[in-house]
Subunit: 311 residues, 2 copies
Amino acid sequence: MKYCFGVDIGGTTVKMGLFSTEGELLDKWEIPTRTENGGEAILPDVAASIRKKIEDRDMSVSEIVGAGVGIPAPVDAAGVVQSTANLGWGYKEVKNELQDLLGGIKVEAGNDANVAAMGEMWLGAGKGEKNVVMVTLGTGVGGGIVIDGHMLVGENGAGGEIGHMFVNPDEEETCGCGLRGCLEQYASATGITRLAERRLAKNDDQTILRGQSLNAKVVFDAVKAGDEVAVQIAEEFGKYLGEAMATLAVIVNPAVIVIGGGVSKAGEVLLPYIERPFRERAFFADRDTRFVLAVLGNDAGICGAARLILG
Amino acid sequence: MKYCFGVDIGGTTVKMGLFSTEGELLDKWEIPTRTENGGEAILPDVAASIRKKIEDRDMSVSEIVGAGVGIPAPVDAAGVVQSTANLGWGYKEVKNELQDLLGGIKVEAGNDANVAAMGEMWLGAGKGEKNVVMVTLGTGVGGGIVIDGHMLVGENGAGGEIGHMFVNPDEEETCGCGLRGCLEQYASATGITRLAERRLAKNDDQTILRGQSLNAKVVFDAVKAGDEVAVQIAEEFGKYLGEAMATLAVIVNPAVIVIGGGVSKAGEVLLPYIERPFRERAFFADRDTRFVLAVLGNDAGICGAARLILG
């Protein structure tokens, strides 16, 4: 049997997994991310942990196909990072450095959102497909695009930044990126809260949302309870997201769009709100595109990272 | 020396080229496209023409790396077409059929707009780049996307249909595709004519455009002559196209966007009208994306088709 490692480097912990090349998750563990001193210990820690696992399991290096790494920053096609918000790294040749630390075991590196999309394609909601978009609805809106089985990396690693698609020319508030009218301003957890606050301030319509501390979960719980105002908020959220997905589909023509991230925990109730405006706006060739919920949760990163190594 | 053929099948003629694998165009010719009887003669004609060229130039089949074909229809990753508007074909396994007709010479097939983007990347305005978008502003708006040197084909060959990006929720007229507010309604030759007609109908502002038969050339000639109303029309055109390219860039993060098609014959005057709204709306990682005019003209198809065969 051949093996590969998947490494998902986050701001506080590094998630690690050992997989068979057939896609079986054999072992899973975590180590802390030591971001001090420019994050200089992170890759040596990862290498040491991989070496120890190889030793503990009495594996031979010839059985290891390689190790893939997901990183919370843009990563170019050569596995190079220019800077990171949470790891302490500036310019870093992740692929080359880790490869050296592992004594020549092959390494590939990618952006964490793109890597998560690879994970859902390999072992999750997009299993069996080769053209997969993953949208992660969390504090922000992240995106990963897989085309013909390969990550869409782009010129400087910034491919798939779906959250900053331009969806509303009339927006007056500024997005975290400095622009106005980005998808993230409506479809993220914070975006949904904002839509809810705006809707409640508009008039005195009765709703169980009033008086509650507003967030995405509260809104979708109210949708499930049949609250009309909450349904209107869900419709506005879904219109922005669904229409943006129609434009995304016109460009990349995916088989499936996977919805993940914290907001997706609302469950199946979410999908019709996205699908309806999507179908209304979709180019005829994209009308069969399916919407599904992510299934791998926090394991998407290690799965996708491991998959990177399989080409 | 090794050779490859590039074949660009159009509704009236098939353009053909013989290239060295280093990218030198050695010979170029055309044959008529015989669309009668479901287009049954088209691929046999192409194969006969290639065989004759091999014979005439006294080449050996072992020197031929293969033949690439561009087709005016969606073509999936297996080289299969479902239907065509202009060739008479319904379902057709282009890659397999032509491969058989050529006695095993390797064949690849792609959509003509995607293939043209490959051509501009290989030998034209995107030379030296691996992440290239080509926008063809003709009767409609066509698009081709090259990611890491490979065509973005998509699930059913409909990747890169840039003309049907959703750019205006307020549009009341219907696009040829049946939707409303597609980029093609503003950025194609017919779209520019429409914008001009609307602008002139708005009020009595003085302009040299009045009384002329309006089209994209007339509008951009007036822009060059300093006509203020024409400049406003160019700004509206550029705002739709530039903002759409900002959203496209957020998704595919290209190094360069190549502007081609009939409208691009207006020349360099066109670019600032697209670039200005692009830069205002571009995500920070995409601000270095360059805009350039296509340079290969009608040869983009044969160049890109030949390039398909080089992987």
